[in-house]
């Protein structure tokens, strides 16, 4: 029996009835990883011992009637989220052998819920990239077409869910890093409202954008995982103090009266015709469920991509200054003075894309360029936030593509960082606005002899996750 093909709701019912134990589920998942992962490359670390110990603890919880929705469910964690005693590499040589001494808030929450962590997943180094090809440690392949990328930066998490090497996975999304790989691999991925999932223990890339979220097989599963990980946490100074976490509350309710806008700028030049067709088909399905669909306009998204890249590189250059070869992580050898210690360690420890973004960040923050780039991008961010606000006065949600194209071949874009960046056009506006958005599978595009998954994106105002899940679940149930 391959239990990892099942979803959380199905497995939870079996666990509660004691028809299967958490240990059996963990063993089954570890078997699936052993069989498949040499081909997929989703995991950087498989934590077999930890997983079995957590499974036994989950069985004890279930026996005492203390279990919840995630008790005994096997999952995978992106490797930029700290896990005490299990190495956390950020897919970088800089942290290749780093054993964290503390758990991230999300890790603590999932442990407390009795979920079983199978291991840590591959990603673009320090989450900088959109294909997982920037990992310094290994290649991850798209389970739907192994010569294609899984997307990124949470490519390992999306591939692990799609290949049934876990039941759900945790990712992080700075400019689309949960939603785009979810779309490329054909799974559900949610980037929640900024501040609703603690970043304590998430290795920082661009702090004003980074947000942790779930990748799952179904919409209902996604809401359940978000309910488990979302909370106020005083250890994250940007964690919001109060908000409703009943994300599953509206699932199953019909969509009558829900207003959904289709911003025309997301369907223009550069969008693959299959992507545009499949997303518009999804709009038709939502209309049949009772939603009112209307074309609208969001011209401010035209500035989103340059604004995002200015700001994320600036924040990255500051955040990654901590990797200096002194306290933890990689340290270069043959050092003669302090400047050399810093420079050799950072040059040898960081990959090419990470170094490129640090250099760009320091450029836009340097005297003489600060106003022209950094401040200007912050002002563009203000304008975009205002434009979203105006649209959400009229619409409950916005429906767009997640990425301009389906997954591309491994190596096809990796030599051209600019082309890779242009692929983030549909996802970065959400991060600039701190908004919640989901990626939901809506069909496949036949290319290069493969059926490549495509997802649509539903964007809502802050704290509208329940409504997003309502619409996404209505679409899913109509399939």
């Amino acid at each position: 029996m391959e239990y990892t093909k099942m979803n959380i709701a199905e497995l939870s019912a079996l666990l509660q009835k004691r028809e299967v134990s958490a240990r059996e589920l963990a063993q089954d998942a570890l078997r699936a990883i052993a069989e498949k992962d040499a081909r997929i490359g989703a995991y950087l670390t498989v934590a077999e011992e930890t997983a079995l110990a957590q499974a036994d603890a989950a069985d004890a919880m279930l026996k005492n009637g203390e279990g919840g929705a995630l008790t005994g469910i096997p999952f995978a964690m992106k490797d930029n989220i700290t896990t005490k005693g299990v190495r956390t590499t950020c897919a970088s040589k800089m942290l290749e052998h780093w054993l964290p001494v503390y758990d991230a808030c999300v890790t603590e929450r999932l442990k407390a819920a009795g979920a079983v962590m199978l291991g840590k997943t591959n990603m673009d180094e320090f989450a900088m990239g959109s294909s997982t090809e920037n990992s310094a440690l290994q290649v991850t392949r798209n389970p739907a077409a192994p010569d294609h990328v899984p997307g990124g930066s949470s490519g390992g998490s999306a591939a692990a869910v799609a290949a049934d090497e876990c039941v759900f996975a945790i990712g992080s999304d700075t400019g689309g890093s949960i939603r785009q790989p979810a779309s490329f691999c054909g799974v559900v991925g949610m980037k929640p409202t900024y501040g609703t999932v603690s970043r304590y223990g998430l290795v920082a890339y661009a702090s004003s954008f980074d947000q942790i979220g779930p990748l799952t097989k179904t919409v209902a599963d996604n809401a359940k995982v978000l309910e488990a990980i979302s909370c106020h946490d005083r250890r994250d100074s940007t964690s919001l103090p109060e908000f409703d976490t009943k994300y599953s509350a509206l699932i199953g309710k019909d969509l009558t009266g829900m207003r959904i806008g289709l911003p025309k700028e997301y369907f223009g030049a550069g969008i693959h015709p299959d992507v545009a067709r499949l997303v518009k088909n999804a709009a038709d399905t939502l209309a049949k469920q009772g939603a009112e669909i209307e074309e609208c306009s969001l011209p401010a998204v035209g500035y989103a991509l340059p604004a995002y890249y200015v700001l994320c590189c600036a924040e990255a250059s500051s955040n990654l200054a901590r990797f200096d070869g002194i306290r933890y992580g990689f340290r270069a050898e043959g050092i003669e003075n302090l400047d050399q210690l810093y420079r050799k360690t950072r040059t040898q420890g960081f990959g090419r894309e990470v170094r490129r973004r640090i250099l760009l960040g320091n450029y836009v923050l340097s005297a003489g360029y600060y106003d022209a780039y950094y401040k200007k991008a912050q002002q563009a961010r203000t304008l975009l936030i205002g434009a979203f606000k105006e649209l959400f006065a009229k619409y409950d949600l916005l429906l767009t593509p997640v990425a301009p194209t389906p997954a591309y071949k491994i190596g096809e874009k990796s030599a051209d960082p600019m082309e890779m960046a242009l692929g983030d056009i549909c996802t970065v506006p959400v991060n600039l606005g701190g908004l919640p958005a989901i990626s939901v599978p809506c069909g496949t595009s036949a290319q290069n002899g493969a059926e490549l998954p495509v997802g649509f994106q539903l964007i809502g105002p802050a704290f509208s996750e329940a409504k997003i899940y309502q619409a996404a679940a209505a679409y899913e149930s109509a399939q």
């Binding site: 001494v101 760009l360 780039y373 991008a377 002002q379």
Partner: protein, 95 residues
Amino acid sequence: MQLDEKTLDTLAWLSRLDIPEEETAALSESIAEMLTFFQQLSDLDTEGVAPTAHIAPLQNVLREDIPAAERLDRDTLLSGTESEDGLITLPKVIG
């Protein structure tokens, strides 16, 4: 378009990075290409628009110092780090 050598050197120094010779041309071209892309922002009218540094509606409020039992002890903090007598050890970097 390429960045001039002096600018690239200054950036490398600010970033505490070396730029390997074989990467210089490609890196310089790629940074220049991104900077050209960023120039699109100059078309945007931002007169009187306040910059957004952060999306969360949070204020910097000081709270009481509350001792917590969860503090990590010295041995835990030093695990995985080269250390001696409870102190981090480093190569000699001052002449």
